[in-house]
Symmetry: C2
């Protein structure tokens, strides 16, 4: 492997700098660090502590905190594939499927909601959710697809923040099935309901 | 006035340190600074530059960036009064009134949406919006008032972020009347619609 090199002496013993094990340990630690502190307060030093490696090794692999985050937020499925899973099925329950798939994704892959939180502090739309929602509204063939994707974005990000980042009660303590029941009609309306201008 | 004192030499000439004019200028500058950079990236130095005063004067008046922010986010009307204005009128249009009053408030008083953004990075609920929404759901006498207030919070914060902090298109460029039309039914449903568990 081109990136494998001898571990410098200051790295802790027992792990080889270039081993895939180290790289995976760093990614796992980074997910925990970003989930615990959010993007802005997370530090490479904190990731290094969790992964029990030297911070220099993280810079060696990933270059910067930004690039480490880009690696961590990669979805387990691509955003278009995710969107098409949501669209597959009756249109009248697409809002319910979106709520359920989003909650499953956030639980299984915290960087997905961390990306949404980071979009607030960085004042830029999160890339993957935008692709997901634009793909969904285009596949549905509804009028004003970009507006609808934006309305859904505004509710999805609010749910993610309320549940995970801020911990608003009782949203953060009810079951996901209850959340699906509460949010499905809102998402359904934003996606397929009549909007002024249709 | 007890807080009036001789301006130190390093303050720019032409303004007296303790004058109410200076205090107002600092508050106006702070609103601009927080609106431009959000709470976390805003600096006392930046406020001082905008207000054309020495940073020391800001610490003299307000003690810290946190306390300056607490001063700046004070609503033009108290949260309970704001809530009762929203409730006053037919219950079937309370969602519409909430959307309209919120947008008017955010436009007239940017610290109100900045507080919502800051609640994300500080990972704590914003105090005033919570009081507003709890007061509204209690006054309406609906079942599950706390849950409903939380659901509304999650949509209101998403709208504020989409429109002001992130600038999601087309949300940030359509008129407020259009936004009221898009969001009123969602807020109405969260506030008064049937929820599982009612």
């Amino acid at each position: 492997m081109a990136t494998t090199r001898q571990a410098p002496n200051r790295l802790r013993p027992g792990r080889t700098a270039g081993s895939p094990h180290n790289r995976d340990a760093i990614l796992t630690a980074a997910k925990q660090e970003f989930a615990a502190h959010g993007f802005d307060l997370a530090t490479v030093r904190g990731v290094a502590r969790r992964a029990k490696v030297d911070p220099a090794l993280i810079y060696h692999y990933f270059g910067s905190k930004n690039e480490l985050f880009s690696e961590v937020i990669r979805l387990p499925v691509g955003p278009r594939e995710f969107a098409l899973q949501v669209v597959a099925g009756p249109t009248k329950s697409v809002g319910e499927r979106l709520a359920r798939h989003a909650l499953e994704l956030w639980n299984a892959h915290p960087p997905a909601w961390i990306e949404l939180v980071h979009s607030v502090t960085s004042r830029q739309e999160a890339v993957s959710p935008r692709i997901v929602l634009d793909t969904i509204t285009k596949a549905l063939g509804v009028p004003q697809p970009r507006l609808r994707a934006s309305l859904v974005y505004s509710q999805i990000i609010g749910l993610a923040l309320a549940k995970f980042a801020i911990g608003i009660e009782p949203i953060s303590s009810v079951t996901d099935e209850e959340l699906v029941a509460f949010y499905a009609p809102t998402l359904q309306r934003h996606l397929t309901g009549h909007l002024p201008g249709d």
